[in-house]
Symmetry: none
Subunit: 211 residues, 4 copies
DNA sequence: GATGAATGAGATTTCATTCAT
DNA sequence: TATGAATGAAATCTCATTCAT
C-alpha cells in the first residue's frame, strides 16, 4: 500500500458523509422528504445506494443528519457575531435580518424552513430538535437584543419574545414564498422592498417616541 | 327496516363528496399528502376505497378538491364582509386579523397553510390555483384597505402590497407554529399577546404621526 | 295500467337480451374479452350495469351467450342451403367460400374467430361448445361436399376432412388478417385476388386430371 | 459456502432477462396477456416481483420483449437458410413448410401466433412490429421462392404474394388448432396428413402442367 | 324489473432496505 | 469498505359484482 493513496482514501472516507448530506439537502429541499428517492441521493453524491447505509441507518436518520448539520453551524456563527457586537440594538437587528436573508434566503438553505415545517408532523424527533436547538436559541438571540434595546432606552417597553417573533415572521414568510410561489407571481416580489418596509414599520413601531 | 341502524351499505350520493373531503382534510393536514393513505381516508369517511374513485379521479384530484372546497368559501365570506364595511381602515384591519385567526387559526383549517406550502413543489397546479385564487385575492383585499387608509390620511404613505404582506406574515407564522411546534414549547405561545404586539407595532409603524 | 304500454313493455323485455348480446358482441370483438368493461356494454345496450345481471349470471355467461347466439344461426342457414343445393361440387364449394366471406368476413362476425381463438384457453367451455357445435359441423358440411365430388368423379381421391381444412384455412387467415393487421399494410390485401388464387390452386390441385 | 446450494438470493444479471422472458412466454401463451399475473411470471422465473422491474419497465414492455426475442432469431435463421439454398423451388418450399412446423408448431412458439393475434388490438405497437419485422419478411421469403420457381418454369404464373399466403394459411391454422381446440377433438388431427394434403394440392395447383 | 352507488378483491407498480459479491 | 442486484411490503387504482332503493 502506498501511503499517499491510503491517505487520500482516508480523506475520502472522512468526506463521504458530508457529500451525502449535501446531496440529500438539495433533493430534500427540492422535492420534499417523501418524494426524494435514496437512489437519486446516492447518484448525486456519487456513491451507490448501499453506501448510504454504511453512514446512515435509514432514510429518516439521513434526514435528521441533514437538518442537524446544515442549520447549527449558521446559528453558532450568528451567536458569535452577536456576542462580539458593539453598537445600537437597532443597527444590530437590522444587520441580523439582512444577514439571515443573505445566508438563508439567498442560499439553498432557503428551502429548509419549508422542509422542516412540512415534515415536523412525521418526524417529531426532528421537530423537537429543531425547536430546542434552533428556534429557542435563535429567538433568544433576537429577544436579548430587543431586551437590551429597551434597557438602553432605544425601544419602548414590550414583550421581547413576541417582538422577536414579529421580527422573524416576514423572513420565514419570504423564504417560504420563494420556495413555493415565486414561480407563479406576475409582479415580482422584491425582497429588498419587503425587508425595508418590514423594518421601517417594525422600528417605527418599537422605537421610543420622543415627547 | 330501521333507518337509523348503522348500515354498511348506504346510498348517499349527495353527502359523500363532502364527507370524503372532510375526512381527507383531516388526514392531509395531520400527515401530509404523501403519508396519507387513501384507505384511511375511506375508513374515516365511512366508505370503501372504491367509493373514493366514484367521486374523485385520483388522489391528486381529491387533494385539489380539499383545497378548493375548504379555502374559497372563507375567502368569499371575507370579501363580502369588507365590501359592506363602514368604518376606519385600522378598525377593519384589526378585525380582519382577529377574524382570520378565528376562522383559520382556531379551526382545522389551521393546518392548510402548512399543507399547501409543503406540497406546492409536488403540485404546481395546486400552488398556482392557490396563488391565483387565494393569495392574490387575499392580499388585494388587505392592500386595498391599506390603500384607502392612506387615502384618508389614516396611514402614512407606503407600498400597500408589502404592508399587506407584513400584516399577514405573523398570521401564517402562528398557524405554522401551532401545526408544527406547539407541542414542544415550554413557555406557551399566547396568540393574543402575539397578535396584540404585532398589531401594536404595525399600527404604530404605519399610522400617520401628527407633527 | 294501460294495455298497450304493458305490451310494449313486454316486447321490450323480450328484446333486452338480444340488445345486450349485440352490444357485447361489438365490444368483445373490438377489445377482446378482458378489456371489455361491463359498464361499457351496459351503456352501449342502453341499460344499467345492474340490468346485465338480470339476464346473464356474470361476464363469462354473457360471453358464452354472445358466441352461441351469433354463430349458430349462420351455420344453420348454410346447412339448409347445402341440403337443397343442386349442382356440381366445385360450384357449391366455390359458392360456400364466397358466401362465408360475405356473411362473416365482411360483417362484424369477422372478429369472432379471433375472439374465440384468443379466449379458448380461458373458456374451455366455450371452446368445447364451439368445437362441437361449429367446427365439427362446418367441417362435415364441406367434407361431405368434397366426398360427393370424389364420388362423382369430379375430384381425385383424397381425405375429405383434410381437404376441407385446406379449403377453410385461408378464410380464417383472411378474417384474422383483417382484424389484426389490415391497419398496417402498405400494399392493400385484396381479398378477391386471394380467394381467386386460393380456389384456383385448390381446384387445380383437387380436380381429376384427364389423361 | 456451497455454490450449488439453492439460494434465495442470487446475483445473475446476465441470465435474468432471458429467464424472465422464458417464463413470460410460457404464461402469456398459456393464458393470454391480460390473464397472466406478473407475480406468476416472477415465481416461474424464480425471482421476486420487484426484479421484473429491474429488467422491464412494465408489463407491456415485457410482452414486447417476449415477442421480439423469441420470433426474430428463428426468422433470421430461415432467411440464412434460404439464401444458401441450392435446389428446386418446390423442394425448398416443401422444406420450409416442414421446418416451420418443426420449429414453431412443435415447440412452445406454437402459441405465439394466437397470442399476437389476440393482442394485436390492445398492442398496436406490437402488431406493427410483428407486421413489419415478421410477416412482411416471412412472406417475402416465400414469395421470392415462388417467383423464382415461376422464372425457372417450375411453377405456372401467378401472384407470388398471394401464393405465399395460401401456403402459410394452413400452418397458422394448424398452430391455432393445436393451441385452442386440439384438446377437444375426437378424431386426432394428424399434422402430417394435413401438410401432405396441403402441399399436394398446392404443388398440383401451382406446377406447370406440361401440354 | 331496473337502477347505479357502493363494495372489495386483486392487479400493477414503487422504492427503502438487504446482502452476496 | 463499497456495490448494486434483489427483495417484498405497501401503495394506488380498476372493475366485476352486489344490493338498497
Amino acid at each position: 500500500m502506498n501511503k499517499t493513496v491510503s491517505q487520500r482514501w482516508q480523506r475520502r472516507k472522512a468526506e463521504r458523509p458530508g457529500e451525502i448530506i449535501n446531496a440529500a439537502l438539495d433533493l430534500f429541499v427540492e422535492k420534499g422528504y417523501a418524494a426524494t428517492r435514496l437512489e437519486e441521493v446516492a447518484r448525486k453524491a456519487g456513491v451507490s445506494k448501499g453506501t448510504l447505509y454504511l453512514y446512515f441507518d435509514n432514510k429518516a436518520a439521513l434526514f435528521k443528519a441533514v437538518v442537524r448539520e446544515t442549520v447549527l453551524p449558521e446559528l453558532e456563527r450568528a451567536e458569535n457575531f452577536v456576542r462580539d457586537y458593539q453598537g445600537s440594538a437597532s443597527e444590530l437587528l437590522n444587520h441580523m435580518v439582512y444577514k439571515w436573508w443573505q445566508t438563508v434566503g439567498e442560499t439553498k438553505l432557503c428551502g429548509l424552513p419549508k422542509l422542516i415545517i412540512a415534515e415536523a408532523g412525521n418526524f417529531p424527533e426532528i421537530a423537537r430538535f429543531y425547536y430546542d436547538e434552533v428556534i429557542v436559541r435563535a429567538r433568544k438571540l433576537l429577544a436579548d437584543i430587543c431586551r437590551s434595546g429597551m434597557a438602553q432606552g432605544e425601544f419602548r417597553s414590550c414583550h421581547p419574545d413576541y417582538a422577536a417573533r414579529t421580527l422573524i415572521s416576514p423572513l420565514v414568510f419570504a423564504a417560504i414564498w420563494k420556495t413555493s410561489f415565486k414561480q407563479f407571481e406576475q409582479v415580482p416580489f422584491d425582497i429588498n422592498i419587503f425587508l425595508e418596509h418590514h423594518l421601517d414599520l417594525f422600528f417605527n413601531g418599537i422605537r421610543k417616541t420622543e415627547v
